[in-house]
């Protein structure tokens, strides 16, 4: 029966024992990839360089709530039992801070500064973050002026995705259609079982790696577990967003009283935009050297919650927190639809978890869409 399931048919996974994961790492290294994967650092799951599979966390899961993130140590052997930490793939392609070019005044010249990159395999990528990456790809690479820095970093990645077998309380990827099962945009897919991993190739780049692994045939029971895990993770999600058409109405609710309500709680700290895997705003600024002869153009992440974001000389277009939160939410959920053909939210819930006061994007959206409370 399971062999007929469309997901099983398209994936055709093999089985890799947990002990054989180290072999997977060795193959990646031999093919010239540095390996990035999840580690526990500063009390959170973060991506860092790995040399052996033993460095992956074991039995670590997480409790995520509005304004709350705690790791929990279980007694199982699972290495991908966590949901996601504060950052997804965004910092790997869209650098938090980088030099775009340097300049010299004598003789006058501008010199591009290409990023230093090496082929990188990222293990433990989630479906929501792949959806976010696709959005960032469109933002930075489509159109007449693709971003060379982003492109070079992006092309250096080999993405190893893992199905989410459980959802955090702040996850709502099922309602945006972006998870919890992997659905394209990766090179190699994995589903974690108690006894090991189902593993399959999704791209030609991934095939080169998979061909060097001695995979065992997957049993029907294992395939069934793979399918049920993501179904259960999906059903367990407690939050959701209204559908895209309804979200377009946010632009018709610009004077809703609820914007004031959010503004009373929002600190305008920008945590939500820093952890959001689709937020793309950046600031470009000159830094002069002390000798006065050279300067560099620095690009670093910006936030529409910052006081300088909408600055026009002595005037700010969005001087109030209400205006900034409204800008962020309406753009993310309505504006992106005409800019990118889909909403700018992939349901990871990071903005909810990492908001210091626990503002919940899904709840605020529903409140603003409720009629009958227009501030007129």
């Amino acid at each position: 029966m399971n062999s007929q399931d469309p997901q099983v048919v398209s994936r055709r996974p093999g089985f890799l024992t947990r002990d054989a994961l180290q072999k997977f790492f060795i193959v990646l290294s031999q093919l010239g990839y540095q390996i990035l994967g999840p580690v526990v650092r500063d009390g959170a799951i973060q991506f860092d360089t790995l040399s052996t599979a033993d460095q992956l966390p074991r039995g670590v899961s997480n409790d995520q709530q509005p304004g709350h993130y705690r790791l929990e140590q279980g007694d199982n052997q699972r290495q991908f039992d966590w949901n996601h930490g504060p950052q997804g793939l965004k910092p790997l392609c869209f650098s938090p801070r980088e030099v775009l070019w340097t300049e010299q005044s004598k003789p006058p010249a501008f010199n591009p500064v290409p990023p230093s990159i090496e082929p990188t395999a990222v293990i433990g990528v989630r479906a929501c973050d792949l959806a976010a990456l696709a959005i960032q790809d469109r933002h930075f690479l489509s159109g007449s002026d693709p971003d060379p820095h982003y492109r070079q970093r992006r092309e250096s990645l080999l993405l190893i995705g893992v199905d989410c077998a459980r959802s955090a309380a702040t996850c709502f990827c099922a309602s945006t259609g972006d998870g919890p099962a992997l659905d394209g945009g990766y090179d190699i897919g994995m589903a974690e079982l108690d006894e090991g991993f189902l593993i399959w190739r999704e791209s030609d780049k991934g095939r080169t790696v998979i061909d060097q692994l001695d995979l065992l045939p997957a049993s029907d029971a294992q395939l069934e577990t793979m399918l049920q895990s993501t179904t259960q993770a999906s059903l367990a999600q407690q939050r959701s967003l209204p559908d895209s058409d309804e979200l377009l109405l946010l632009y018709k609710r610009l004077e809703h009283v609820h914007w004031d309500n959010v503004a009373e709680r929002c600190l305008s700290c920008g945590n939500c935009t820093a952890v959001c895997p689709t937020c793309f705003c950046y600031e470009a600024s000159h830094e002069m050297s002390l000798d006065g002869e050279t300067a560099q153009m620095i690009r670093q992440w910006d936030s529409c919650f910052s006081s300088t974001h909408s600055s026009m000389g002595q005037f700010q277009v969005r001087s109030t927190i209400k205006q900034r939160y409204r800008q962020w939410l309406t753009h993310k959920l309505a504006g992106w639809q005409s800019q990118q053909g889909r909403i700018g939210c992939i349901g990871c819930g990071r903005c909810i978890t990492w908001c210091p006061v626990g503002i919940d994007l899904t709840a605020e959206t529903v409140a603003v869409l409720e009629e009958g409370s227009l501030d007129v």
């Binding site: 006058p108 950046y282 470009a284 277009v317 969005r318 109030t320 205006q323 753009h331 504006g335 800019q339």
Partner: protein
Amino acid sequence: MFDPHVPHVAVIDQRVQESPTIFTLRLQYEDTRVQDAFEFDPGQFNMVTLFGIGEIAISIVNDPLDSHFFDHTIRVVGRVSEGMSKLQPGDHVGIRGPFGRGWPMEQIKGRDVLLITGGLGCAPLVSVIRYLMRRRDDYGRISILQGVKHADDLIWKEQYSVWSAERDVRVLLAADVATQSWQGQQGMVTELIAQLPLRPQRTVALLCGPELMMLAAVANLREKGVQDGDIWFSMERNMQCGIGQCGHCQIGPKTVCQDGPVFCYDELADFFGAKGF
């Protein structure tokens, strides 16, 4: 690989002091291949870098047929523009561009053109005026309404008198604060709209200046029967990348640097004048 972030070096060929705080730089790319490839539409802008200080968005004010140079008229408002005001012929700047969508000059051929500018928003429209004068037969009646805060702020006085002498061209000036020698009206530029013998069905209005002025102008134009789809304006926002990437210049779902800076009123009606957008 072409990198849209990296400027090309341009040299200042001429510098004209237009008023105590306004100056024009005539520029040429150092690399002649870059200069030869440089084409633009009236209303588009360049990102201009002052070495060691920073980069600002400035509209291009000369005619697109001028292929050997390009002009930027700049008012001293901040750190970068003040530094630029001290540059002299032979000095260098960095240029990226041109960026954005300019005025719909092809689309409005044959129509009466009404140009309304206020404050110091004249630069983006001066390129249009020059464009129209050079192609006078392609367009109908031309009306130029120019408002300034203080009578002394009016630059290009001689040009206005030359333009007003052309066939079917009307120039009306207004200053909030008039001087004894001021020959225009005292008051707001938008008050001049009522005085015009407009042919609303044939008229296309091009607006540039402070948003409050443009909002008032839109109201007056609609009263006169000009259609929303025939009202165009140039917007200003915080612009850093010029290629729709950095996110600062968004107004609702539009980016000013890429979808604009010139918009049709229809396109931005929901957000034009809405606080916070």
